[in-house]
Symmetry: C2
Subunit: 473 residues, 2 copies
Amino acid sequence: MQNYEKFCHSGQLLYFCKLKLTSMASVKCSIPKGTRDFLPTEMARRNYIFDTIRSVFRTFAFEPIETPSMENLSTLMGKYGEEGDKLLFKVLNSGDFMEGVDFNQDYHKVAPQICERGLRYDLTVPFARFVVQHRDQITFPFRRYQLQPVWRADRPQKGRYREFYQCDADMIGSTSLLNELELVQMIDMVFTKLGINVTVKINNRKVLAGIAEMIGAPERLIDITVAIDKLDKIGLDNVRAELRERGLSEDQIHALDPVFSLSGSANEKLTTLERMFADVEVGQKGVEELKTLFGYIGAATMNCEVELDLTLARGLNYYTGAIFEVKAKDVQIGSICGGGRYDNLTGIFGMPDVSGVGISFGADRIYDVLTELQAFPEGLERAARVMFINFGPAEQAACVGIVARLRAEGISALIYPDAAKMKKQMDYANRKAVPYVAFVGESEMQTGTVTLKNMSDGTQQTLSIDALIDTIK
Amino acid sequence: MQNYEKFCHSGQLLYFCKLKLTSMASVKCSIPKGTRDFLPTEMARRNYIFDTIRSVFRTFAFEPIETPSMENLSTLMGKYGEEGDKLLFKVLNSGDFMEGVDFNQDYHKVAPQICERGLRYDLTVPFARFVVQHRDQITFPFRRYQLQPVWRADRPQKGRYREFYQCDADMIGSTSLLNELELVQMIDMVFTKLGINVTVKINNRKVLAGIAEMIGAPERLIDITVAIDKLDKIGLDNVRAELRERGLSEDQIHALDPVFSLSGSANEKLTTLERMFADVEVGQKGVEELKTLFGYIGAATMNCEVELDLTLARGLNYYTGAIFEVKAKDVQIGSICGGGRYDNLTGIFGMPDVSGVGISFGADRIYDVLTELQAFPEGLERAARVMFINFGPAEQAACVGIVARLRAEGISALIYPDAAKMKKQMDYANRKAVPYVAFVGESEMQTGTVTLKNMSDGTQQTLSIDALIDTIK
């Protein structure tokens, strides 16, 4: 049982009174675990992030697409590993979903028989399906961006949701490393605009393959990179112990020493690697790609720090060339953006050898970073530039005309809907953080003016409508 | 089996070749019935509609909110009638959904036991749930807008989809008729901006209730309005026949004559109704509300036609005051926007007597109207303002610097990613409908200039970078 404000209506006036609610009502009013409502202030902040990312995507000539929230389950199943299949939200077939289904089976077997569709798990697999399905309507190389929610039946926990947005940009149908440069420039522009200092970490999957081959364990690529990936967290000795556990020989572990002791600039590291990869073709190719990319990056003007990080290993099963990851410098938080090149994304849908490279911005983590840095611009959440006080029918009519002119100029304006007490109207303006309040009383009506109060410094001036527009625009 | 273009990579160059696909691949690449992919051109047009609606909502000081795609099924069930319950998409519980469930029951009984959640069916019920759940965080009167997709398991057919967007604006917690005026002004501004001539039809549910009471059949309100609603389509005689079938007496049907024969301006109709409602309180209240609203509308400047339509009956179970419906004048299509006042929306969640009024724009139908009128602005779908031709490594490096400057100015620009043959690059520029193509060769590199080709008239000029920015911005 809790109290809340109830609105009782009496004519045009609005009163507040208190009322008890039965607990039944509060039970009804909840949302599924791991999902969120967004109130206007959160929306304004989220839209600021989305708008910034979208504007940068557009400046780089990426084109928007959208795919349905529901895909055929056959499109999604088997694309995210066994764990991923479990985390897919499945949509029950309409009508008599039970007809012809044997329910004396394991639930894993029953689920796909009663659910033909599932909710999008990421934007990448639907994009691959999209490219194959619409290949005749697309001009390649194709740069697409996509900002849409995805759903995962993950255990809800702090910062992990069952519905969240992904903001992806991919260029597909070109192997040029200029694409990789442009992704780094795009990352730089997004975080410069948002005011977040970041480090962009870059690696190349071919270099990791080269290292595995060099120590004579090409088939242990994943074991090696998973261990290397932990270097930051657990230290070199523990990484070595883990490699031992994973079955690498002492000779092989020893052969990795030069990789761990690499130091200096990206170019210095690459020169050392080049020597190490004298007989390892895939490693040479990786070094060559990184040299070209760091050459491009060196020639470009950028605000962010870009570093070669050989311990970066993300999404290995998936990526085949460059790998990117972005960390915020002033906040302890995981990666806020990542991506890489994949040489065969559409192969799963029968269209092989289409190379692509892309990145994904983590809007929720960026939101957390901006909150922690208190770096959201002021005034984002303001509902209106100006609110007109309502003194009664005649004054309201005058306000309607003035407000229509302001709105035609694109100025967000509001008239309080009732001639309520002044204190109540001013309280409302304060709660809504309106920067200006306008008064149109008898004298203003006679002279065709408005008295404008600046809510931040309390000053007041009487203005013509044109001067009003100039002042608050 | 079908042919398609395949991309084979050889160094930095890109070739096209033909390849046969197995039919298996094409089978995989489809989307669920009634859902849609949106390609860049469609996206640009849809965004134009959404952006226009959103900008008007903001100008009128509406604040954005979002609710989760999935709601608890208990929030949704029973809110849309029996038919609506059937059309809800239900989401299968994660994990062992079969545990403890008796599958020897009717599927209607099994479904809610294996599905706790359902997909949003409209934006109104989630908004009511939102208002009750967040009542302590909301300042009333509250103006919210919400642009999100909804899902309905309707039989797919032309113009009817299983996933589609709703664009809703509601003001809640105020009974002032100024709110109704503002909705009409908002409709006017949206369709003026979109260049669609519309008629806004207005009625009031209390007038309909008054008519039912006047002829002595207050309990037959729904039968009467359903029949009246068909007047346009089936004519007066058939409406009378239907009323007879629905069990109204000849006297009652005869008593409706004055309603059908009402004519003249809104004011003339209202004056006649006022006389008819001498003893019908609810009808008088409805006329009074309409008089006030049409008084406001008459005093405001509007482009659209606004008419009082007593045969307008939409959503009767739901609305309690004003009802709106918008028709495009130059296109034969159903309503493209509608709404009304409801006095007890949040009552279903235990918070009674909160009055609200709102409208919903039908983005899909507006899309169809703009397509039929060929009224989309030109150039919406352009991926970039300018594309730079790639002549090789040195020229590419020069272009990277220039393009970075353009992008910093907010200009959408592109470098072709490879030094492909000129014809291929120009073809690409043409397919992407880029308005300008830029050439940076040896002489331009020496002089720090760019040769710019205007793709619509074929003219070329050599410009400094500053002049380039001024020309294409």
